[in-house]
Structure formats: structure tokens, C-alpha cells
Symmetry: C2
Subunit: 202 residues, 2 copies
């Protein structure tokens, strides 16, 4: 089995180990399917797409945001799922112990590299979770809008599978209402159209 | 079929169409396999992983770099492959017309959104291709190091499949020699170890 035992710089060795470890993001599958409906989307793809949403839609944050921070949040926001797994947004049982599972995962993963970088990655993840900064709010807008659009383009795949109602969707999307009024109009039209098309319960 | 015809803001409509279109990155498969060897890696995952390499290994650029620029380059550097397809790094035939295919793809893709954003995305892609800035050189370091490490951890998967020699690998990695001497040491040790382990032709 290959390893980095030949790397004498211990900090670099741990960084390389970390970069190999996070390859596991490519095997963490979300409930959302990709737009051609052929399979579920994984966390690595989702993180890239979320970062692209942030980059392209930046102007729809009424608050000033540091877009570079938002992009970094996108890249790392799901890393803890390598150990904690993906929890379906509408799974109330699974969401009960989600926080504890993710904190343990963060200790494990972010503790594996040097403390300066580990603490920085953890701070980005915590900022995303806390939704207290403009960057975090806009990151959450993109993280929620992306799967909404996927559901819209895949005949409500995840909604139907999870028997989700429009009020649950709107509740899940609620941060967009205040953090991006222009994108909120898109959300409500998608929900209305989806009900009309019979792909989302009223 | 779903679409964004209900979005009256034409700029936003084109941005949303673009974000749906680039979902196709998840179906562009590279020659490299993911580390658990179960399947090929796609461009969306690779772009995310490349961005993480840049974020974690930034300090190994002896030249000062704007890491935010490098990350953005990572996110968009392979977008043209949506229309041009992935060209295997060691395919000399396919590489002959690669440039022309990619320029046509860039015109098509970057022309689909507003000119300000389209020109910006194109400029990031061109900067990556030209390797004339410190950011571009470090981006190329990460873009080459990531699949090298995947080959090392997957028993030389792509090298064996393509009957690639160590001198071809070192030539492909050459930008790392000057753009990151510390990471170049890792490259040469990986190549030496791979020859010893019989997973790479001398």
C-alpha cells in the first residue's frame, strides 16, 4: 500500500495525508441526483458546484460579501461528512444527533493536519453552520438553491422520494428570503411551478 | 422539461442556465481513478480536489501568490471540457487539435452568460493555460500533482493503462521542478518508488 512515509517534512506529510483522505468526499452520496438523473450527486461535486454558484451569483447578496471567503466555505463545508455521513435535510430523526456526529468528525479530520490549518478549516465550517456573517448567509443561500434547482430539473426526484411538502421546502429555503430577495423570487416561482407540474406536494 | 423561462431578469436567467449547464462536468470522466479504485474521477470532483490542494499546499510556492485567484482558476480550468471533452495527458494524437477544440468550447460556454462574467471566466482559463503568472504556475503544480498522487495510490492505474514511462511522467510534471522545489522532491520520490514497486516503467 502506498503512503507518504518517505516525506521527512512532517507538516507536509500530514498535509499530503489529508489531501488523500478527503478523496473520500467522492464516495459520500447525497439524496440529490445530478441533472441528467443518472445517479446521486456526491459531496465533492456538490462542493464544486456550490462554489460556482457563489462565484456566479455573488451580485445577488444585498450585503457586501468577501466572495473568496464564501468560496472557501463552499470547498470545506461538507468535509465533516467524510466521518459523519450525509444527513438528508428532511430527515428529522437523523438531524437530532447530526451536530454531535459532526463535531466528533471535525475533531478527527481537522486534528489530522497542523493546528494552524486545522483551526482555519474548522473556523470556516463553524462560520457556515452558525449563519452569523454575511458570507455564511450567502453560502447557505447557494448551498440550498443548488439542490432546489436539481430537484426542479429532475421532476422533483428527492421531494417525491422523501414525500416532502412545499411548506417543508420553503422552510428549508427560508434563509434565501432575507439573504437574497432576488433569488427568493426564483425559489418561490420554482416551488409554485413544481406544485403545478405535480412534482411537489402543495 | 424544466427551464428558467419564468425569470424576467435576463442576466439572472442566463446565469442560472449556465449553472445548470455546467452540471455536465459531473459526466466528463478523466483517465485517473479515485483513490478507492472503484471508478474514474470526473471533472467536477477533480476541480474541487485541485482547489483543496491549492488551499492546503499554498506555502510551497516560493513566489508570492494570490491564493484566491488560484482557487478560482481551479474551479474553472476544466469547464471547456464540457464541449471539448477530456484529452488524456499522454495522448499525443488527441493533443494535436486540443487547443482548437477548447477555444471553440470556450466561445460557446463563456459566450452564454453576460460578457463581463464570461470574459472573466475566460481570462482565468487562459491564465491557467499560459502559465505566465505565479498563480497560474502554482495552479498547474496542483493540477499535475493531484493525479500523480492518485496514480501512486492506485498501483499506477493510468500509467499502466496508457503504457506511460517514468520519463514521460517527469516531463509532464516538469513545471513543479521550478514552481515548487519542495513538492518536486515529493514528485521524484513518488516516481522512484513507483519504479521500484513495478507500477511505472523506468
Amino acid at each position: 500500500m502506498a503512503d507518504f512515509s518517505f516525506v521527512t517534512n512532517n507538516k507536509l506529510k500530514r498535509q499530503l495525508d489529508f489531501l488523500v483522505e478527503i478523496d473520500k468526499m467522492k464516495n459520500i452520496f447525497r439524496r440529490t441526483v445530478i441533472i441528467n438523473k443518472s445517479r446521486r450527486e456526491n459531496d465533492a461535486e456538490h462542493s464544486w458546484h456550490f462554489a460556482m454558484y457563489a462565484m456566479i451569483l455573488e451580485e445577488y447578496s444585498p450585503e457586501h460579501i468577501d466572495i473568496n471567503k464564501v468560496i472557501k466555505i463552499a470547498l470545506v463545508h461538507d468535509l465533516v461528512e467524510i466521518y459523519a455521513g450525509d444527513t438528508f435535510a428532511y430527515d428529522s430523526e437523523g438531524n437530532k444527533n447530526k451536530k454531535q456526529r459532526e463535531i466528533e468528525a471535525a475533531n478527527n479530520l481537522f486534528g489530522s493536519i497542523c493546528s494552524e490549518q486545522g483551526n482555519y478549516l474548522r473556523s470556516l465550517w463553524e462560520e457556515f453552520e452558525e449563519k452569523e456573517t454575511a458570507e455564511s448567509r450567502f453560502a447557505n443561500v447557494c448551498d440550498r438553491l443548488q439542490p432546489l434547482i436539481h430537484n426542479y430539473f429532475t421532476d422533483g426526484h428527492t421531494w417525491r422520494e422523501g414525500d416532502v411538502s412545499s411548506s417543508q421546502v420553503l422552510e428549508r429555503m427560508d434563509i434565501i428570503r432575507t439573504a437574497s430577495p432576488e433569488l427568493w423570487k426564483v425559489v418561490t416561482e420554482i416551488v409554485d411551478n413544481s406544485i403545478k407540474r405535480g412534482i411537489l406536494r402543495p
